[in-house]
């Protein structure tokens, strides 16, 4: 007589193994990733120029499908003035409520990139950008650079603060641009090993 609870245990264990081994069989995707991506943003007004840099951006790219995702920790943006950084987190981005911004999308022309050949390839990205709790569809252009087997990428996008419900009080209105230039640089994508 087999103890029924034991059978159940064995079964669930088998299922668990199946669950974890399955994806590795079914997936034949090559993935590249980085945790050292850089995002800088610039707010230029006649009164004040503000810039901030984040060097801890996470990104992952699926070579065959062209799927690409970014994750940006808001508190990792560094400003020249500490108080600005505090206000950025406390008053504008509300980083304790919305700690991360993400982009999830596709490189629609990934087929035109020859990963084995050096060169600069223009990219068309579309997907969803989530920031300050607001998700919007975006369509942007960037470029992928292959040089001696090394993959790097960059893009510059413009973000309108009001699109993401980021309000600027009128007293400081003249100091903060309505549209922020955001520069994204991935110095190097590494192969994700299983």
């Amino acid at each position: 007589m087999i103890d029924p609870s034991k059978t159940y245990f064995m079964l669930s264990r088998f299922l668990l193994i199946a669950l974890f081994t399955l994806p590795s069989i079914s997936e034949a995707q090559t993935k590249y990733f980085t945790k050292k991506g850089q995002i800088s943003f610039y707010s230029d007004t006649p009164v004040e120029k503000i810039e901030a840099h984040n060097k801890r951006v996470t990104a992952i790219l699926e070579k065959e499908s062209g799927k690409i995702e970014f994750s940006v920790l808001i508190t990792a943006f560094e400003f020249e003035k500490a108080l600005m950084q505090e206000h950025f987190n406390e008053n504008y981005m509300e980083s304790s409520k919305y700690p991360k911004s993400t982009f999830k999308g596709n490189i629609s022309n990934i087929q035109s990139v020859d990963f084995s050949k050096d060169g600069e390839y223009p990219l068309t990205l579309d997907g969803e950008l989530t920031m300050h709790g607001v998700t919007r569809k975006v369509n942007e252009k960037g470029k992928l650079i292959i040089s001696k087997g090394k993959i790097s990428a960059s893009a510059t996008i413009n973000v309108a603060l009001k699109d993401y419900n980021i309000s600027v009080p009128s007293v400081v209105g003249a100091k903060i641009a309505e549209i922020i230039r955001v520069e994204i640089v991935i110095p190097q994508f590494d192969l994700l090993k299983k």
């Binding site: 079964l11 088998f14 299922l15 199946a18 669950l19 399955l22 994806p23 079914s26 997936e27 993935k31 990733f33 945790k35 850089q38 800088s40 840099h53 060097k55 996470t58 992952i60 699926e62 799927k67 690409i68 995702e69 994750s71 920790l73 508190t75 560094e78 020249e80 003035k81 500490a82 108080l83 505090e86 206000h87 987190n89 406390e90 008053n91 509300e94 304790s96 409520k97 993400t102 999830k104 009080p169 007293v171 400081v172 100091k175 994700l192």
Partner: protein, 296 residues
Amino acid sequence: MKLFCLSFIALHLICIPELNAQDLLNEIEGDDELQHVRASFKNPKVINAQSLETTHAGVLDFRISHRFGRLNGGLYELFGLDQASLRLSFDYGITDRFQIGVGRSTYEKTYDGHLKYRLLWQTEGSNKMPLSLVLFSTMSVNTLRFPNLTYERTFVTRLNYVHQMIIGRKFNTALSAEILPTIVHRNFVLTSAEKNTVYAIGGAARYKFVQRVAFNAEYFYVPEGQLAPGFTNSLSLGFDIETGGHVFQLHFTNSPIMIDKGFITETTGKWSKGDIHFGFNISRVFTMKQPKKPKE
């Protein structure tokens, strides 16, 4: 066994599309990095008391603080506005954890200096530190002239010390609270009813009810038997209003004294009698040393 096979096939069918739709990012994201909790209070000072914050590294905080006379002075004194007491101070952040500062007060023409060091820093993410612990130590010197004294007030008798621990936590974006076990040592006291060394405990909290505006409250309790009758515990209530590089603090307090040994052990006003002083602090920060820009 049949059931088992079926479930296995079913699992294949279910989990393949599901896995494909799963976030790519999950494959590389590990534990959240340790992050220090910032902006528990808007300023290194709650009202009179020290807060859990220190001035950021490389930042100079210039503060102008005023306390006016008593509200119960009535219209004749324009509710206290005819008398003003001032403190000017400069605080500087050597690192994000270590602050030094100097000040000068109207009260007893006092010069003061302090050291403030954050020993424990509350963190978010994995491996959490639930609270912050800040050490504060200040020394002040009374520089009043005493022309009619029959005895000599040597330099040593003019010195006072306050040592404090500030233990607290930012509970959420709005609420932060702290307690302040404190030792005050005055080298010279006027009457034998007053102890040279006084133990006290303070409590302070802030509630940020809208963006950029917070309500603050602080109270210092001095256990009985250490001060002469007539001295009271200090209670202050006020608001922080933040505009760009300034923080304005507007408040009501029964203690017009802005140095630590003063408001803890030398307060005489009573809220119940209307001995309430209006006051404000203006804090303006200057970035003296900028952090390095990332390499291109």
